[in-house]
C-alpha cells in the first residue's frame, strides 16, 4: 500500500454519480454470477425436470381425457402454460428467500451498502439478475414441449423477453414480501395463499373461461394470466394487437412491484 495524498482529491467531483450506476449494478450482479457458478447444475436440472413432469403427468393424465383446449393441442396448451409457472417459481422464490437470507442471516447487504452501492442499486441489480435467469429458464418448458411434439416457432425467442418482464415483477414481489415478513416462516402464507392460486388461475393447465364469472374477472388482475396469454400467442405464431395490452399489464406490474420493493426494503436497510 502507498499513500495517495493527491489522487482522490483530483478524482473528486470528476463526474456526477447517477442514481443507478451501471458499475454498481454490475458489481452486485457479479456476486450473483459467482454464486450461480456453484449452483447452475441443480438449477438447470430442476428447470428441465419440472416441466417434464408436468407434461408427463398432465399429458398422460388429462391428455387421455382432453385432446384439445379450444383450437390448441393439449401439449401446446400445457407446455406454454408451464412457462409461466417456471418463470413464477424461478423469480418469486429467489426474490423472497435470497433477499431474506442475504439481508437477515448473512448480512451481505449490510456489507455491500458500506461500499459505494445504494439500496436502490442493490435491489435493482438483484431483481435484474433473477429476471434475466427467469427469462432464460422460462424457455426450458418450450424445449421440453418440443420433445413432446410442440412445433418450434421463431416467436418462441420472444418468450425469453416475456419471461424477463414477468420475472422482474415477481422477483420484485418476492423482495417486497421479504422486506415486510417478520420471519422466514411467514413466506408459507404467501406461497399457499397467493402464489398457488396465482399459478392455477392463470390459464396454465385449464382455461380461465371454464371458471365462474367472478373468478374470471379476478384472473384479469393476475399478471401470470397475461404472461400465459402472451407466451401462447408468441410461441404458437398467433400474436395480435390485444397482446400489447397483456404486455402493458406486465410492465405496469413490474414497475409497481419494483418501486414498492425498493421503498419497503430501504426503510429497513437504512436506520
Amino acid at each position: 500500500m502507498s499513500v495517495q495524498a493527491d489522487a482522490p482529491v483530483a478524482r473528486a467531483r470528476a463526474r456526477p454519480l447517477r442514481r443507478l450506476e451501471p458499475a454498481a449494478l454490475a458489481g452486485v450482479m457479479s456476486r450473483d454470477v459467482v454464486i450461480f457458478g456453484r449452483y447452475w447444475k441443480a438449477t438447470t436440472f430442476s428447470s428441465i425436470v419440472q416441466p417434464t413432469i408436468y407434461l408427463l403427468a398432465f399429458g398422460l393424465g388429462f391428455g387421455t381425457l382432453v385432446s384439445h383446449i379450444g383450437h390448441l393441442k393439449y401439449v401446446e396448451y400445457v407446455a406454454t402454460g408451464v412457462v409461466a409457472t417456471a418463470v413464477l417459481f424461478s423469480s418469486a422464490f429467489p426474490g423472497m428467500f435470497n433477499t431474506f437470507v442475504r439481508w437477515q442471516f448473512q448480512r451481505t447487504y449490510d456489507a455491500m451498502l458500506a461500499a459505494p452501492v445504494d439500496v436502490e442499486e442493490l435491489i435493482t441489480a438483484e431483481i435484474l439478475w433473477i429476471s434475466l435467469r427467469a427469462g432464460v429458464y422460462g424457455l426450458a418448458p418450450l424445449l421440453v414441449g418440443i420433445a413432446f411434439g410442440l412445433d418450434p416457432d421463431p416467436g418462441m425467442l420472444l418468450v425469453a423477453f416475456i419471461g424477463f418482464l414477468t420475472g422482474f415483477g415477481f422477483a420484485s414481489f418476492g423482495v417486497l414480501i421479504a422486506a415486510v415478513a417478520k420471519t422466514i416462516d411467514n413466506f408459507n402464507y404467501v406461497t399457499s395463499a397467493v402464489l398457488t392460486p396465482l399459478f392455477l388461475v392463470a390459464g396454465t393447465f385449464f382455461p380461465v373461461s371454464a371458471l365462474p364469472a367472478g373468478v374470471r374477472t379476478v384472473a384479469q388482475f393476475n399478471p401470470l394470466y397475461h404472461c400465459v396469454q402472451l407466451v401462447r400467442d408468441a410461441s404458437l405464431g398467433s400474436l395480435q394487437l390485444s397482446d400489447l395490452g397483456h404486455a402493458a399489464v406486465l410492465l405496469a406490474f413490474a414497475v409497481l412491484m419494483w418501486r414498492l420493493a425498493i421503498w419497503q426494503l430501504s426503510k429497513r436497510l437504512i436506520d
Binding site: 500500500m1 499513500v3 482522490p8 454519480l17 457479479s30 449490510d110 461500499a115 459505494p116 436506520d271
Partner: protein, 310 residues
C-alpha cells in the same frame, strides 16, 4: 460540552477527514447519539473509545449513510452526507464489527466482487486482489471457501475487503472484538501499518489497550456524546494524574479506605480486588498504605465515564 485537549500530534491546516456537528440519532425513544461533535484530522489513527451502548456503532453507520442522522451535519472526506455519501464511500473502506462475509465464496471471489463494487478498473482488479490477499496474509488460502477459514482469518479477510481499493480513510468498528490475543496483535500491526502510510483510521473500540497502543488521538464517548478528547497520555494526565495508589485488603478495609478517600475529596474507584485512588502524587501523609503505579488510560476512562470496563 466535550472538554478539548490539544492533541498536538497532527497538522491543523488540512480539513478534517471526518466532521460531525451536533449530530443526533434516535431510535424511538432511545437517543443513541446525542449532539455529537467530532473532527477526525486527516492522517491520524483516531480512537473512539466508549463502553458498549455509548453510540459508537451508530456513529460508524452514520458515516456510511447506513443510518441517517435526525439532525446535525456530517461531512466525510469533504463530502456532505447523506447527499454525497456514495462518493465518500468510494474513497473509504469499512471493516464492520459483525462478520458479514459471504460464507459460500472463496477469499479471492469475495475480494474480486468488492474490487468491482469499489470501481477498481478491470485491468487492475487481479493485482488489487493479490495485494489484499498478501496484506491479510491469506495468499495460501486465496481459493478456500470462507466457511472453512478460522475466526482470525475471517477477520483478516474482512480487513482486506475494506482495503481492496486503497482507501484514504478506513473505518474499523471494534476491529478485534472476540479475537484471541495473538490474532489481535496481528491486526494491530496491520492497523499500525495503515497509519504509517498516511491512511486516516477511525477505530471504535471498548478495549482500552487497543486505543492506548494504536490511537494518536482518543475521543471518549459516553451516552451518545464525546466527553473528552486528546492524545492518550494527555487524557491520562488530565483525568487520572500521574500515579494511582492501589490498596489491597479485605472488603471492610477497602470500604474504610474508600470513606477516607471520600472525606479527603480524593477520587477513587474499585478496581477488581483493589481500591484505586487517582492522583496519588498529590496525596499528603494521610494516604493509606498501598502500591503506587503509573496512571493509565483505563483510570482516565473510568474517571470520565464512571463505567468499569472488562
Amino acid at each position: 460540552m466535550a472538554q478539548q485537549l490539544d492533541p498536538g500530534t497532527h497538522e491543523r491546516a488540512q480539513p478534517p477527514a471526518i466532521s460531525l456537528r451536533n449530530v443526533v440519532k434516535r431510535f424511538g425513544s432511545i437517543v443513541a447519539v446525542d449532539g455529537l461533535n467530532l473532527a477526525v484530522p486527516a492522517g491520524v489513527c483516531f480512537g473512539l473509545l466508549g463502553p458498549n451502548g455509548a453510540g459508537k456503532s451508530t456513529t460508524m453507520r452514520m458515516l456510511t449513510a447506513q443510518a441517517l442522522a435526525d439532525s446535525g451535519e456530517i461531512e466525510v472526506l469533504g463530502y456532505e452526507l447523506p447527499r454525497e455519501s456514495k462518493r465518500a464511500r468510494m474513497e473509504m473502506g469499512v471493516v464492520p464489527q459483525l462478520d458479514n462475509l459471504d460464507v459460500e465464496l472463496t477469499c479471492r471471489q469475495i475480494l474480486t466482487v468488492f474490487a468491482r463494487l469499489y470501481r477498481v478498473p478491470g485491468g487492475e482488479r487481479a493485482d488489487a486482489v493479490r495485494r489484499a490477499l498478501e496484506l491479510a496474509n491469506l495468499g495460501p488460502r486465496a481459493d478456500t471457501i470462507v466457511r472453512e477459514l478460522s475466526g482470525g482469518m475471517r477477520r483478516r479477510l474482512l480487513v482486506a475487503r475494506g482495503l481492496i481499493h486503497r482507501p484514504r480513510l478506513v473505518l474499523l468498528d471494534e476491529p478485534t472484538v472476540g479475537l484471541d490475543p495473538q490474532v489481535r496483535q496481528e491486526l494491530w500491526t496491520l492497523i499500525d501499518g495503515l497509519r504509517s502510510e498516511g491512511v486516516t483510521v477511525l477505530m471504535s473500540t471498548h478495549y482500552i489497550e487497543e486505543a492506548e497502543r494504536l490511537a494518536d488521538v482518543v475521543a471518549v464517548m459516553s451516552q451518545g456524546k464525546i466527553v473528552a478528547e486528546g492524545a492518550p497520555a494527555e487524557l491520562v494526565r488530565a483525568y487520572a494524574g500521574e500515579q494511582v495508589l492501589e490498596i489491597y485488603g479485605p472488603p471492610e478495609q477497602l470500604a474504610a479506605a474508600s470513606d477516607t478517600a471520600a472525606r479527603h475529596g480524593w477520587q477513587s474507584r474499585r478496581s477488581g480486588p483493589a481500591l484505586a485512588i487517582m492522583r496519588a502524587e498529590t496525596l499528603d501523609g494521610d494516604a493509606p498504605e498501598g502500591v503506587r503505579r503509573p496512571a493509565n488510560l483505563e483510570d482516565a476512562f473510568v474517571a470520565l465515564t464512571g463505567e468499569e470496563i472488562e
